[in-house]
Symmetry: C2
DNA sequence: AGTTAAAATGACAACGCTGTCAATCTTCTA
DNA sequence: TAGAAGATTGACAGCGTTGTCATTTTAACT
C-alpha cells in the first residue's frame, strides 16, 4: 500500500520495475486516489484556492481556467473564492475557507493581491500564496509574484497613438485603489514625456473601470475644453473604452476619424464593439497557469523543480479599427 | 465528540441546552469542521460539482456564484468543471472528478444538461444531479430539473416587436444542438402564428450563438431579399444581437429607426452596445441558487425540507433602445 | 562468500470526522 | 415511587490515505 502511495506521489526510491507494475494496475483498475483521504492524512493538502474580487467575468474565467488546467495536471483540486474587499468579513471569510478546506496555498489576483492586510494574514497562518500583480518586476519577490507589466503596455499603446500623430491624448483611469490604474497612468505619462508632450491633467479622468465611467469620462474629457483639443482617448480598460465609444456616438463623433479610442486587456467585447477596439492583449490564462505552477513549486517543495516559470508578462498591443491617424 | 458532530450536522435529538453549550464553544474557538475528514468519514460527501460547457463568461460566473452562495450556507464545497462536449474524454473526465472528489452531486448546465449520455452515466454511478434546462416545465422531472422557459420569453419578445408594428421579423438561431435554440425559435414562431403572420423560413438564419455568427446572420438576412422587407431582427442571444448591430452599422442601417434588434439573456454587454439592447432578462444567479438547493435536498435527504424551490423560470423582457416602432 | 551500507519495501498508527450501537438519563404511567 | 419507554449521550471502529520507522532486499565492497 505504501509503495503504491510512493508511486502515485512520484517519490524517489521506487524501483523502476515496481513502478511499472503499480502503474499498470493503476491504469487497469482506473484507480483514483481519494482526495479527501489524501488531504486528511498528508502534511500538505491537495487543494488550492483562487481568490478574486473582479467584476470582469472574462478575466475571472480565464484565471480560473488557467489555474484549473495546472491543477488537473498535478492532481490538485481548486476552490474558487469570489469576494469583495468592501466586505468587512472578507479576511475572516478567507481564513475560514483555508481552514475548512485545509488549503495548501492560494493564488491572489488583483486588486486583492495588493492588500497587505491579506498577505499579512496569510503570512501569519503560514500559508503559501502567489500574487498576480500589476507592476514592474523587482528582484525580490520573484518567487511569490507574477507581474503584469501594465506600465510598459500603457507606454506602448500611448506611443502607438503618438506615432499616429496624436498630441492631445486623454486618459480614463480605473479605480484609484487598483495598482493597475497607477501603472497604466504612469506608462502613459512616461510615453508622453519621452515625446516631449507633457501630460495635461485636464486630459486625465478618474473613472471606475466600468462601462458607465467610460461614458462619463469621455463626456467630461470632451466637454472640458473645445472638443477638438483631444484627438485620442486611452481607456484604462476595454470596458471604459467601450463606454467612451458609446459616449462618442451619442455626441456624434466619428471613430476613428475624429477621435481614436483604445482599450486595455483585449477582453472579448473589445472585438464586439463597432469599430473594434485597439487594445493591449493580456494572456490571462497563461499568466494564471504560471501562477499555479509557481504555487505548486512551493507547496510540493523540492519535489517538482519547475524551472521555466515566467514571472513577468507584458501585454502586447493589438491594433484594430478604433485608432487611426490624426487628421 | 459525537454530540458535537450532531450539533454541527443539525441532527435531531440533541437537547436544546447541550446544543447551546456546544455552539457557544464552537463560536468561541471558531471551530471549523474539517471538510476532508467529513468527506472521508461520512456516507455522503460535502462536495458538489458544477459542470458547464459555455463560452459565455457572464453566464458561467452567474451560475458559479449562485451555486457558491448556497454552498456556503450549507457548508458544501464546490468543484467547478468546465469541459467541452467536443472532447471525447468528457465523460471519463467527469467520472474521474466524481471519484476523486467523491462528489455528492452535480449541477448540470446547458448544453451539457441535455446530453443523455451524461445523465445515463450519472444514473449508473448513482450520483445525484440537477439539470438546468431550457424548456417548458413538465409534470415529471420536477425534482431533477430547473426549467428556463425560453419558449415563453421568445414568444413575448416577438410579441413586443409585433406590437411595435413589425411584420417581417428575422430570427438568428443559436447552435442547433442547443435546446434553447429550438425553444426560442418555437416561441418566435408561435407568436407570429398567433398574430396571423406565419414564419417565413427566409427570415430565419442558423447561427452559432457567437458574435461573428450574429454579424453573418444580419448580413445574410438583410441581403437575401430587399433590405426593407425585414424591419426587425431577433437575436438568439445578446452576443448575436450585438453582432447583428455591428453588421447593421457596417451596412449603414440606423438602429432602431430602420431596423429593430433584440437580444436574449440580458448579459452585461447588452448594456454596452450602442444603442443598448432590448433583451430578455434571465436571472442566472437565482436560477443556479435554486438548482443548488434542489440538489441539496437530494444529497442531504429528508434532513432539510426546502419547500419553496422554484423549478421554472421565465426570462422577462427588458425594453431598451435597440427596438422601436416600425416607421 | 561474507560483510556492510544503501536502496527498496512494508507494518502500523494517525489524520478528524461519522455511523453504529450500547449506555445513560428523563419523563411518564400506574 | 418503581418500571418502562423514549430521549439523549457516549464509546469505538473505520473512512483511504500518508508519515514514521522497522524490515527486507540489493549492491558494493573485501
Amino acid at each position: 500500500m505504501k509503495t503504491v502511495s510512493r508511486v502515485i506521489n512520484k517519490e524517489p526510491s521506487v524501483r523502476k520495475k515496481t513502478y511499472d507494475v503499480v502503474m499498470e494496475a493503476v491504469n487497469e483498475l482506473n484507480y483514483q486516489p481519494n482526495l479527501a483521504a489524501r488531504n486528511l492524512a498528508g502534511t500538505s493538502s491537495f487543494t488550492v484556492g483562487l481568490v478574486y474580487d473582479n467584476p470582469n467575468a472574462y478575466y475571472v474565467i480565464d484565471m480560473q481556467n488557467g489555474v484549473l488546467s495546472r491543477c488537473k495536471d498535478e492532481g490538485y483540486e481548486l476552490v474558487i473564492h469570489p469576494c469583495s474587499y468592501a466586505d468587512d468579513n472578507m479576511e475572516q471569510d478567507i481564513k475560514t475557507m483555508i481552514k475548512r478546506s485545509r488549503l495548501a496555498g492560494l493564488v491572489l489576483t488583483p486588486p486583492l493581491s495588493e492588500q497587505s492586510s491579506i498577505t499579512n494574514m496569510l503570512d501569519e497562518l503560514n500559508i503559501h500564496y502567489v500574487r498576480v500583480l500589476s507592476g514592474r518586476p523587482t528582484d525580490e519577490d520573484q518567487d511569490t509574484c507574477i507581474y503584469v507589466n501594465d506600465y510598459k503596455a500603457a507606454y506602448e499603446i500611448t506611443s502607438h497613438l503618438l506615432s499616429l500623430g496624436h498630441k492631445n491624448i486623454g486618459f480614463i483611469c480605473g479605480d484609484k485603489e487598483h495598482k493597475s490604474t497607477s501603472e497604466r497612468l504612469e506608462g502613459y505619462k512616461a510615453a508622453l514625456a519621452d515625446h516631449d508632450t507633457p501630460a495635461n491633467s485636464d486630459f486625465i479622468y478618474d473613472g471606475k473601470y466600468s462601462f458607465e465611467s467610460g461614458v462619463e469620462g469621455a463626456k467630461t474629457l470632451l466637454a472640458n475644453d473645445n472638443k477638438l483639443a483631444i484627438s485620442a482617448i486611452l481607456g484604462g480598460n476595454d470596458e471604459m473604452a467601450a463606454g467612451a465609444l458609446f459616449a462618442s456616438r451619442l455626441m456624434g463623433i466619428q471613430i476613428p476619424e475624429q477621435l481614436s479610442i483604445t482599450g486595455f486587456e483585449n477582453s472579448p467585447f473589445s472585438r464586439q464593439t463597432w469599430p473594434k477596439l485597439t487594445t493591449a492583449h493580456q494572456e490571462n490564462d497563461v499568466i494564471s497557469q504560471h501562477a499555479a505552477r509557481l504555487l505548486f513549486t512551493k507547496t510540493r517543495g523540492a519535489r517538482n523543480q519547475d524551472k521555466d516559470i515566467i514571472t513577468s508578462f507584458t501585454p502586447s498591443i493589438v491594433v484594430r479599427d478604433s485608432s487611426g491617424p490624426k487628421l
